[in-house]
């Protein structure tokens, strides 16, 4: 009797180990691809900078930057600041900059009155970041900007390439994208243009949380549920809303995401104002 029980539990342990091994191998593979892209970008595109939104994705990406470059972050980490982030976000930023010794540069975004007034209100607000980014690239002459966007976030982002060449004004023509074969990225960037580099494109929201848990990467506490609400995606405080959730640990967030049917950016006003709001933002240079 005893031996049967122990055999059963052995088998269960085996299958659990098996699952952990394939998941680990899968996360290793995602990470390896990201590190390869980061090293390619650093070798072949200069000058280079990375945008850090302080959210879970670009923070996980920062961790992988450190892995790629032996603990260093060898390019400036830029914060596009509208002054409208949550106080918890600013507090987390200050703590991590210190903790990881990050070479940060803050870029203050121009006021809303300067952006395209035909955009819906929340998109107009988001467009401030586009304007801030454009000003930064123009001033610093960056040829490459590393961004932590993922294809599964949003249908328009799903069309992105890992290296996405942009015109001088940052605009994106999704119909004229160069081929991207295997891991050969286009490095030849004409003067005045730049390339957006997306090393997290192949990750999903679930992958990021599984990786964050495994690697013990810090994150803004607003992602965890408090009083039945949590933020699933973090944007500026005036255009971002929490979702109903009881996930108060990363493990619970993972369980929640394994079954949810709600889109990740449901709480981001600018995505949902009109059918084409996000497409208009992106083609004019939004992240």
């Amino acid at each position: 009797m005893r031996s049967v029980t122990s055999k059963l539990s052995d088998r269960r342990a085996d299958s659990l180990n098996g699952m952990a091994t394939t998941l680990d191998a899968y996360l290793d593979e995602l990470e390896a691809r990201t590190i390869y892209i980061l090293r390619e970008a650093y070798s072949c595109v200069n000058p280079l900078a990375m945008l850090w939104s302080i959210g879970k994705d670009s923070t996980a990406l920062l961790w992988m930057v450190r892995k790629a470059f032996l603990g260093d972050v060898p390019f400036p980490v830029v914060l596009l600041d509208t002054g409208m982030e949550f106080p918890e976000v600013y507090a987390f930023r200050d703590w991590l900059v210190d903790e990881w010794n990050l070479p940060v540069e803050a870029e203050l975004c121009p006021p809303e009155s300067t952006v395209d007034q035909t955009l819906p209100p929340a998109s107009r607000h988001a467009a401030r970041k586009t304007a801030g980014l454009r000003a930064l690239i123009e001033r610093e002459k960056y040829r490459g900007i590393i961004l932590g966007i993922r294809r599964d976030e949003q249908a328009i982002r799903a069309k992105e390439r890992i290296f996405s060449p942009r015109n001088g004004d940052g605009s994106w023509d999704p119909r004229m994208q160069p081929p991207e074969l295997w891991e050969y990225f286009p490095y030849d960037i004409p003067d005045g243009a730049h390339v957006r580099i997306h090393p997290l494109l192949h990750w999903t929201e679930l992958d990021i949380w599984r990786y964050t848990l495994r690697e013990k990467i810090p994150y803004v506490p607003l992602y965890l549920a408090k009083n039945g609400k949590r933020y699933r995606s973090l944007g500026e405080s005036n255009i971002t809303f929490p979702i109903d959730s009881n996930a108060d640990t990363v493990e619970r967030i993972i369980s929640e995401l394994e079954v949810t049917r709600q889109p990740e950016r449901a709480g981001r006003a600018m995505d949902n104002e009109s059918e084409d709001a996000f497409e208009r933002l992106r083609t004019s240079g939004y992240m």
Binding site: A32, S43, D152, W182
Partner: protein
Amino acid sequence: MKQLRIVMVGDVDAGKSTILGRLLVDVGQVTEEKLRELESSSAKRGVPIEYSFLLDAFQVERDQAITLDVSRVWVRTRDAEFVFVDAPGHRELIRNLLSGASEVDAPVMVVAADEGITPQTRKQALFLQWLGFRDILVAINKLDLAQDPQAEFQRRKTEVAEFLAQLDIIPHAILPVAARNGDNVVTSGSLTAWWSGPTLLEALKALERRERQAGGPLRFLVQDVYRRDGSRFVAGRVESGELHCGDYLTFWPLQTGARVTRIVQWPRVVERASAGSPVAIELDSRVFVDRGAVGSRASDAPELGHVLQARVVWLGADSAKAGETLRLRLGTREIPVTIQRIDEVIDPETIEPKSAEELRSGDVAIVTLVSRELIAADVALGGSSITRFILVRNGTIVAGGRVDAVVGRARGEGATNVVAMTSSVETHERSERNGHGGGVFWLTGLPSAGKSTVAMAVQRMLFERGRNVYVLDGDTLRTTLNVDLGFSDEDRAENVRRTAAVAGVFADAGFIVICALISPFAADRELARAAYPNGFNEIYVSCDLATAERRDVKGHYQRARRGELAHFTGVSSPYEIPKAPDFVVDTTSQRVEESAAMLLEYIEAQVLEPTTLRA
């Protein structure tokens, strides 16, 4: 939990996006709200519920009902996670299909039952074969439009299987689907009640991941060299095999070698790294290693050579011809290559090779590429990144390719740890004693153009003026150094390479070297220049074919015309006229003495001019 990456291919209207949309709905991943939105969105455009709208996010796509660019869709079930790459079937957007398909585990080909295999499907299948997929799924869709779905399915199934067999592709399964109704996508349905095989979702779950080659020979691809606290780290990725601390690595193509003393996967130091791992390694000596190098064990070296035979897909908007020089990116290395020859282009209609003068957008072709620089590549490893390459023209990616063969030099075994000695006598010292510098004067032209005759005449003149001069004659060398070589294109390339190497040594020793070789291919002459880049002169001995054939000093033209000589330049093998020779002598209109005198003047100007002396 199995994670699989799948690409959807098929003609424009075969229903790829509809299948994916239906899959999303039937596994329960679409909210009620989204479904309602879909209904209203479809109604607004006057169509019944259109599942593909779930994918085709762009406004323009919804309005034209086609997929414009590669998109990704995530489908999650209890025991498997899928990423679907939805590639467009549109003719002009083949580059997008390739971008999407080059990163996946397996393709699903969608064939509409009412259309069968279209020219576009043929072309896509050719690309799938080119990308190295052997295992694919085929969904015969739109069976809801057929009068007798079962009979229609059988007919299409046979047609598809026969077609794919021509490409050596054996489908994992060919299954019936009526995506609009959801039959046999996730669950079987009334339209496919007769079908006893798997549903599409079941068949998808049975596919296997394409793994990196853990068992293959060690290949370490160098991306960069980082310096930290006085130490040097070579950063890169293990492409295949396994890297161990203590391994002695040889870095190709420079053949420098050193032992691995530490493998870092920050923040950890590891004993070994498996295929796919990004690492930074420390070496026991300060040998030269840089981006572009490939590390291997000395006993398991990649192939080395100057000539590649490769299977390419041409993506450039403008076509390409033999003779064009492009940039080759292979692994992390980037070097110039010249298209020496377009061997054949595959006709997508018949899957048969045919000859072609140029590469046009969308062509799958076999080409011969030649480089001045030594190339290290693999041919056996299907998935390795030093088998796959791209070609770049003015900063734009114009082709993808796979190396079929490396020609021009044997494996580098036994040549490791060779260090070139520095000479105890410098070049300028030799020039000063001789009263002139060395140089290579490479005479190229048709057979019987007068290359050897002019070379001999000039040699006599230079000798009488007290110059150190020697003629390397192609025919003479073929009886000694090059006795093992024939007249195939590869052997001609090797003939040129060896002759140029010998000429380079003579020139270094202070000699004026006159080479007389037909050397019909521009790419080979470029190779010759590389052997002595600062003192190489391409001399075109110009003579029209009729005149050369009339002279026919050795009777070869006559024999070639009778079909007795294969590969005879000017008759059965092409001669590429130099585009920008350093000097031209015209033996059609000039006598030998005139040509020789002009050449003498040119040579003296080169070797006596102090600025051309190699200091």
